[in-house]
């Protein structure tokens, strides 16, 4: 066989192996090549089938290895993280909105320059000018009546301007002034009267009477009275 024929034969044979169509090819070699191609492809298909038996297991193993190395993120974990972040943001946002509506208040005047100049020792130990507090000056977070933070009861009289009912501390409560104001349905005076009867200041100690005054004050939306009523009930000082 000449070199040219040999070369041609090789090319035709390889073309058949590749699956190409060759016109006027040597029939003997065509069959030969086609059978070889069929055998090769069958063997490969069998190998592929065999390897695919462990495909899913290996894919999972590969994925886990990538997650372990930090190349991939665990989808479940990232969904959980996203949910927690979302929840955290929601709670924080809700707290701020609620606090802004209900709790934030300014308890101290903002010192002006001229006031700072005054040598006033009180300003040196000044608390922050604003902070989240409940109505009674207690720090509170999302839940306003959280007992850990809120006081159990109130022992200080409510200051009422221009009267002796509550002006100058507990010991200086004046029964007469308080009664006058109580008749005018002053909730703070009623609370102070309750406090007087509870503590026995200027009057004989009487928890039942104290309770009645507190109830009246509570009916007039005095929040401190609510606490003191709860306290009396809890300590079983009233029937």
């Amino acid at each position: 066989m000449s070199i040219n024929n040999e070369k041609k034969l090789n090319e035709e044979w390889l073309a058949f192996i590749r699956g190409d169509v060759v016109i006027n090819a040597n029939k003997k070699w065509r069959l030969h090549a086609k059978l070889v191609r069929a055998v090769i492809l069958n063997t490969m298909a069998e190998e592929e089938r065999h390897l695919n038996m462990s495909y899913d297991r290996d894919l999972l193993k590969f994925k886990n290895a990538l997650i372990e190395k930090g190349i991939l993120k665990n989808k479940k974990e990232s969904i959980n993280n996203r949910f927690l972040k979302w929840l955290g943001t929601l709670v924080f946002g809700a707290t701020i909105v609620w606090a802004a509506n209900e709790l934030i208040r300014f308890d101290k005047p903002i010192p002006t320059e001229s006031q700072i100049e005054i040598d006033n020792p009180e300003y040196e130990s000044e608390k922050p000018l604003s902070y989240i507090t409940d109505k009674f000056g207690t720090f509170t977070a999302f839940w306003p009546y959280l007992k850990i933070f809120s006081p159990e009861r109130f022992d200080d009289p409510i200051q009422i301007v221009n009267t002796l009912c509550g002006h100058g501390g507990l010991e200086k409560l004046n029964l007469k002034d308080c009664l006058v104001l109580a008749e005018q349905n002053d909730a703070d005076a009623l609370f102070n009267l309750g406090l007087m009867y509870e503590k026995g200041i200027s009057v004989k100690q009487n928890f039942q009477k104290a309770y009645e005054y507190y109830k009246k004050a509570e009916a007039l939306e005095n929040d401190q009275a609510k606490f003191n009523i709860e306290y009396l009930k809890e300590k079983k000082l009233i029937n």
Partner: protein, 191 residues
Amino acid sequence: MESKKFEELHALLVSNDDNQLNRGYQILFESLRNKMIGHYIKKFKLNEESAQDLAHESLITIMEKAHTVKEPKAFVGWCWIVTDRKALDYLRKMNREKIEFNTDKFDIEIKQQKNINVDNIDQRVCIQKGTERFKEEYPIRHYALELFAQGYTHAEIAQLIDKPTPGATKEFISQCRKIIDTFIGHCKEIK
């Protein structure tokens, strides 16, 4: 043949987007896992278990270091370089020598016809048996022929079987006809 597909794959693997990365690792696994295992078995004569382990390691390395490939066109070639290096490292560790390609020495003159008993078998079975023996004796040529049958270009095959040029690969594959004929030539006589 695969270059374009691997360019797209490279873009997925270097992406910062989790969804794209998730798609990327699946496509990478699907495209290369079986081929790598076959490559290790056929080229380096490793057993299936070691081949699977090495393929796993190679795929992880590709995922880890895909960003170091600056030219997407070179990505597919780089993947096969990683694949081969893993095998060479493994063989070095196992104190084994790299499989020499000259086991496929072409010396048709001294080869005897490796006829087998053809009584009671048809031509297809005869060719299958002959091809199996060809595979045993010339694993690299058989591997090259497999790649060729799948439509790989000479340049791609050259890279996979460590031939210096596409021309040398073409010559290497062309010789297969004569060699395989020594195993299955007698089958042509079977009706």
